[in-house]
């Protein structure tokens, strides 16, 4: 039984989401402001009574960054942010500050469940040692053995391609912002060099996707970053 803390100020949306989540078997606690949310979060962390946080960025008393800071300070509890459609800058800012994933209003319930599922599987931003094997369709990745194969045949990747792929695998299903990828793979001085990413993602797709023009595994969240499809 998974437990969700939903921090959302609009009462109709809160009601609808709570209903949908409870149908799927979640235990839902709600808060309607950043202050209320932070207080409940602190309590829940102490009691270890929450598994994932859903945080709306449009709260009346704060843009959500205090809740995120509170969460990251004490724990690596997964936090999914809900933002409005044209707020890329804030969304990316919070993703870089430690949020795990995001949803854009208006979103559908299936999208919500998909994000929650991935977040629960990863349970926070720390690299999980267990995520060493990934597979999607006929592509198999083994992080320990440093091998990737497609339809049984081994694929040779350059070192940078490998770094990029393994970074994505470690957070499979979750978005990683452009900045995070560039910083992790090339270094902090390269966070503006998005063209590197475009180039290398294109190379990876060419080597691993059935149809590189219509990728099903190496996905792009335009304006935010890249995500690897969930393991299947």
């Amino acid at each position: 039984m998974h437990r969700i803390l939903l921090i959302e100020d609009d009462s109709d949306l809160r009601r609808t989401l709570r209903a949908a989540l409870e149908v799927e078997g979640f235990l839902v606690k709600t808060a309607s402001s950043a202050a209320d949310g932070t207080a409940q979060l602190r309590q829940s962390i102490k009691e270890a009574s929450i598994d994932v946080v859903l945080l709306d960025l449009g709260l009346p008393d704060n843009d959500g960054s205090t809740v995120l800071t509170e969460a990251r300070h004490h724990t690596n509890l997964p936090v999914i942010i809900i933002s409005a459609m044209h707020e890329e800058a804030r969304r990316i800012q919070l993703l870089d500050a430690g949020a795990d994933d995001y949803l854009t209003k208006p979103f559908s319930i299936p999208e919500l469940f998909a994000r929650i599922r991935v977040a629960l599987r990863h349970r926070g931003t720390m690299v999980s040692a267990a995520k060493v094997k990934y597979s999607h369709g006929n592509v198999m990745v083994d992080l320990e053995a440093r091998q990737v194969s497609r339809a049984g045949a081994e694929i040779k990747l350059t070192p940078t391609e490998w770094n990029l792929l393994s970074r994505l695998v470690r957070q499979a299903g979750r978005v990683i912002t452009h900045r995070q990828l560039l910083a992790d793979i090339w270094g902090p001085e390269y966070v503006e060099h998005t063209h590197y990413l475009r180039l290398y993602m294109s190379q990876l797709r060419a080597k691993l996707e059935e149809d590189p023009a219509l990728p099903v595994m190496l996905l792009s969240d335009t304006g935010v970053g890249y995500r690897l499809a969930e393991s299947r």
């Binding site: 890329e88 208006p106 350059t158 590197y196 475009r198 180039l199 023009a213 304006g223």
Partner: protein
């Protein structure tokens, strides 16, 4: 008149010359009849009037006449006059000399006056010219202040709208009070004005056509013609200031009118474009709640799906409306980054296949297209709008094709369908923001809205949105983007 002024500059020394010359001549020709010699004296008087002041000429003429009488009129050596003709001669001589002297003096006065007037008119014209291009009231104030200081040769303070706008030095409390009083009442004060005659300065109001806008304080020198000129300067300043104020008010009104008209367009758009999907949603939802038990599971599912579809429509329309309003008011911030055309096209196709599973949507993109600078979110919106329009209005005519290729140094992102072409009339208006009026169905209005946003996005990327009709049927929308020629630094592997 200017030449005359130049010629007739006062010069005591030159004034003597005619007299010296003439008396020399008289001495030489003293045997001539007096009447002839008298004419020479009159000539001297006239000539000396060029360079001497009036009193000097009169004195010299009188002295000459007496000397003439004494020396040349019988009985010589005495001031008495024997013959009546001689008396008449002397009298006439003096009379003509005086007349000529007076005339010359008057001419000189008029010439000076005229050149002064010309200078003042020139100054007014020059200041008026400067005011025409002056940007702010502070400029006006300092120009006026400089002119008044020059005119009266003393410090000056200019007050505009109750605030000291320009001053030679910090004005005293008294000065400020006097200026404020004059601005309030619109009447001059100071010596020779009839109000506060003991005040150590002359204060003149700066008037526009209907109200008093300020006041100027200068020294108490009472020269009427200078004061007249000062009044003219102040009046000019006042009307210029008034014109500025009126222009600002007009601009503000225009700005308000523009935002009002945008507001109206938004309201109209919301009223028209949001009502229909909402009506459909309400219909389907109320059907589910009211007729729940009488509907089959399939019927309920279909109604629920309708609600989902209409909501997605409504989301599109709302987003497009908001974006258009943002573009119209200049509130769009372009967030540029390196983009891959293949990636953008690919994800657009995948999104639209998910949304319209029944439609046939094809991808035809060249490989190895160069990266380009653009705002990913806006480009996604553009592609989605074009594909949504194509699927909704032309989906039943054949497959939709989304593609990207390079041609004449531009990147072309294209969305093509097999539906009917757009009429010429509609083509003219289709990229306009908030095209109002005309007989459009809600679907067409929604499509028009989407196209207007696409057009704005194209413009903000320094590109263009092009419509082409295919033969015999079908159409294509192309986003043409200029390609950056500079080579990208690539990472070392």
């Amino acid at each position: 008149m200017n030449n005359f002024s130049a010629l007739a500059r006062p010069s005591p020394i030159r004034g003597f010359l005619p007299w010296i010359a003439v008396w020399t001549l008289i001495a030489l020709f003293q045997q001539q009849p007096p009447s002839n010699l008298a004419l020479l004296l009159i000539l001297a008087s006239a000539l000396s009037a060029f360079w001497w002041r009036l009193w000097q000429v009169l004195a010299a003429s009188a002295a000459s006449v007496l000397a003439f009488n004494y020396l040349l009129i019988s009985p010589r050596g005495r001031l008495a006059v024997e013959l009546r003709e001689d008396a008449m001669l002397l009298f006439t001589m003096l009379g003509v000399s005086i007349t000529i002297a007076l005339l010359m003096s008057r001419m000189r006065q008029l010439a000076t006056q005229a050149s002064e007037n010309a200078a003042r008119a020139e100054q007014l014209r020059e200041i008026s010219e400067r005011y025409r291009t002056a940007a702010s009231p502070t400029n006006l104030a300092s120009t006026l202040q400089t002119a008044l200081v020059e005119l009266f040769n003393c410090p000056c303070v200019v007050l505009l709208n109750g605030e000291v706008a320009a001053a030679s030095s910090k004005p005293s409390r008294n000065d400020r009070d006097a200026l404020t009083l004059v601005q309030k009442h619109g009447q001059e004060l100071g010596p020779a004005t009839g109000r506060y005659e003991s005040f150590p300065g002359w204060v003149v109001p700066i008037r526009g056509t209907t109200t008093v806008l300020g006041a100027a304080l200068v020294g108490a020198e009472g020269n009427p013609s200078k004061r007249e000129h000062a009044r003219a300067l102040c009046s000019l300043t006042g009307s210029t200031l008034e014109r500025h104020i009126a222009q600002q008010a007009a601009e503000q009104a225009r700005g308000e009118e523009k935002s009002q008209s945008l507001r109206n367009a938004l309201l109209a758009s919301i009223a028209h474009d949001h009502r229909t999907p909402l009506a459909t949603i309400l219909g389907a939802a109320s059907s589910i709640t009211e007729q729940h038990d009488r509907l089959t599971a399939d019927q309920r599912q279909a109604l629920a799906q309708t609600i989902v579809d209409e909501c997605e429509q409504l989301i599109d329309i709302t987003e497009n409306t908001l974006q258009l309003a943002r573009f119209d008011t200049g509130k769009i911030e372009l967030r540029e980054d390196w983009q891959s055309a293949e990636e953008l096209i690919g994800s657009a196709v995948q999104r639209s296949r998910r949304r319209y599973p029944a439609a046939e949507i094809r991808l035809s993109s060249s490989r190895q297209l160069p990266l380009f600078r653009g705002d990913g979110t806006l480009l996604v919106q553009l592609l989605d709008n074009l594909v949504n329009n194509a699927v909704q209005h032309a989906g039943r005519f054949g497959p939709i094709e989304v593609g990207a290729h390079l041609a004449d140094r531009h990147l072309h992102l294209t969305v093509a369908d097999q539906g009917p072409p757009i009429s010429a009339e509609l083509q003219k208006r289709m990229f306009q923001s908030f095209y109002r009026g005309g007989k459009l169905s809600p679907g067409q209005r929604g499509a028009g809205l989407g196209l207007a946003v696409c057009s704005a996005i194209a413009t903000v990327h320094r590109g263009s949105l092009v419509y082409t009709a295919a033969q015999p049927n079908g159409k294509r929308f192309t986003l043409r983007l200029p390609i950056n020629d500079e080579p990208l630094s690539l990472p070392m592997e």
